[in-house]
């Protein structure tokens, strides 16, 4: 089935960097769905995270009001929440921390679920807190697909585990199977 999803959102925290790099390495150039990544990062420190994540693909840290474009990979800028508006433009938000985090994975997942509904794919990777769990459940409630990295293989299991416990319908997959699903999207 082609183009099952109009957006792919990926959230990760502690222990997710290597698996994320691994996943991004297989994202095909002709994948239409924009990929939006939210990683917990240090605030107020300029970092080269985009370049760290992929040597092959350009990773864009979007500015406010930038359109969400197909074939692009985006990374939530540090110290802002990243939301999507109904007309499919990015909106940056500098409000309170959510789950001790800014950017918060919950905020982006939930906003993607509002805008893309059943055409949303959410992937939650390793992490040491519960950010992203509620958002992943909202994606599933909107008819989208919610996947977590198998907690057994995650460096920190708390994040995927919280999603599994929070709602029904969360799929538990290995990184290899997650990659196959992304490749299968083209």
């Amino acid at each position: 089935m082609k183009n099952r999803f109009d957006v792919i959102t990926i959230g990760g925290s502690a222990g997710s960097l290597l698996v994320l790099t691994d996943i991004l390495d297989v994202v095909p150039h002709h994948l239409a769905a924009p990929v939006i990544i939210v990683l917990h990062r240090l605030r107020n420190v300029q970092s080269e995270m985009g370049r760290l994540l992929s040597s092959k693909r350009r990773i864009i840290e979007p500015e406010d009001k930038e359109p969400v474009k197909e074939h692009c990979i985006y990374l939530a800028p540090q110290n802002y929440h990243l939301l999507i508006e109904a007309e499919k433009t990015f909106m940056l938000d500098y409000s309170e921390l959510v789950n001790y985090s800014r950017p918060s994975i919950d905020m982006t997942f939930s906003s993607a679920a509002d805008v893309y509904g059943p055409k949303t794919l959410g992937i939650l990777l390793s992490g040491a807190n519960k950010d992203g769990a509620a958002g992943l459940c909202q994606i599933i409630a909107a008819g989208g697909r919610g996947i977590v990295q198998d907690p057994e293989t995650a460096a920190f299991e708390a994040m995927p585990q919280s999603a599994i416990e929070m709602c029904d319908g969360v799929q538990i997959l290995s990184i290899e199977d997650i990659k196959k699903i992304i490749i299968g999207e083209t």
């Binding site: 107020n44 009001k65 909106m91 940056l92 938000d93 500098y94 409000s95 906003s111 409630a141």
Partner: protein
């Protein structure tokens, strides 16, 4: 909490707030404000959007709480230290040429970034001939800013930011600590006037050599961004500076051709004639 605010309900709420209380949120970016309205409903234990509207129409205090809750009042001293370093190195030396310096901080929240600016000016030897006009739409923020009192807990992070911004003094010289709070030195605050100004409905009130409006534009839709940029253009003296938030950009605005870029990453612009 997956109650949803429909577009019709959202417009109703915006209209009540506008007609009854005079605050116009029509041009605000919806993704964020809808989310905050939902959170406010959860916080107040409201069961439905109807109840929210009913309380809004009938209860002034309820409205004050709503305004306090849905406007974003998060701020830091020397937020984005690199930006302050650029101000020190590229903007203040140019401002030094003016006999009297006027600066507008629009959307100043509880004042942290305004105090940071006062410290920069003091260190550049310019504060004594500067007047900073600091405005916000939220009266509760202004009351707090006016007092100059900040929680002591934050000072460790702020000191770090100050050092990263190129500050060389002992940061604790700028405040007095007492119990769990600090009081920003009166000598710094003497040059600041805090007052209410709503960027949506209020107009030009003076002419400035520098306008700082950081992380306010993100809450506006593109149309409102355009009109506020026009207001800033009209409020700047010829060759005056405008500073925006790091992720705010002028490139989607109609007026961008009337500004030149001074620092692309730190989002410092300058009015062309």
């Amino acid at each position: 909490m997956k109650e949803v605010i429909s577009n019709a309900d959202f417009l109703d709420i915006i209209n009540i707030v506008k007609l009854q209380y005079g605050y116009d949120f029509t041009g605000y970016a919806q993704a964020s404000i809808k989310r905050r309205l939902l959170r406010f409903m959860g916080h107040m234990g409201l069961e439905s959007v109807f109840e929210l509207k009913y309380r809004l129409v009938n209860d002034q205090d309820f409205f004050s709480r709503l305004i306090q809750y849905i406007t974003v009042n998060v701020t830091e001293m020397f937020r984005d230290p690199g930006f302050y370093r650029s101000l020190r190195e590229q903007v203040l030396p140019k401002l030094a040429a003016y006999p009297n310096i006027k600066i507008w901080h629009a959307g100043c929240s509880t004042g942290e970034e305004v105090f940071s600016m006062a410290i920069l000016l003091e260190e550049a030897g310019l504060l004594s001939r500067t007047k900073i006009y600091a405005t916000d739409l939220n009266p509760a923020n202004l009351e707090r800013a006016e007092m100059g009192i900040l929680p002591l807990d934050n000072m460790k992070d702020f000191t770090q930011n100050y050092i990263l911004s190129g500050g060389l003094a002992d940061f604790s010289n700028y405040y007095t600590a007492r119990y769990d709070n600090v009081l920003i030195k009166k000598e710094l605050r003497r040059h600041i006037a805090f007052f209410q100004h709503n960027l949506v409905t209020d107009k030009v009130f003076n002419e400035f050599q520098l306008i700082c409006c950081r992380n306010v534009f993100i809450y506006f839709n593109r149309e409102l961004q355009n009109s506020v940029l026009q207001l800033f253009f009209d409020s700047l003296s010829s060759r005056g500076y405008l500073a925006m938030g790091l992720k705010e950009t002028m490139r989607f605005a109609d007026i961008h051709g009337k500004f030149e870029t001074v620092h692309a990453y730190h989002k410092i612009y300058r009015r062309i004639e």
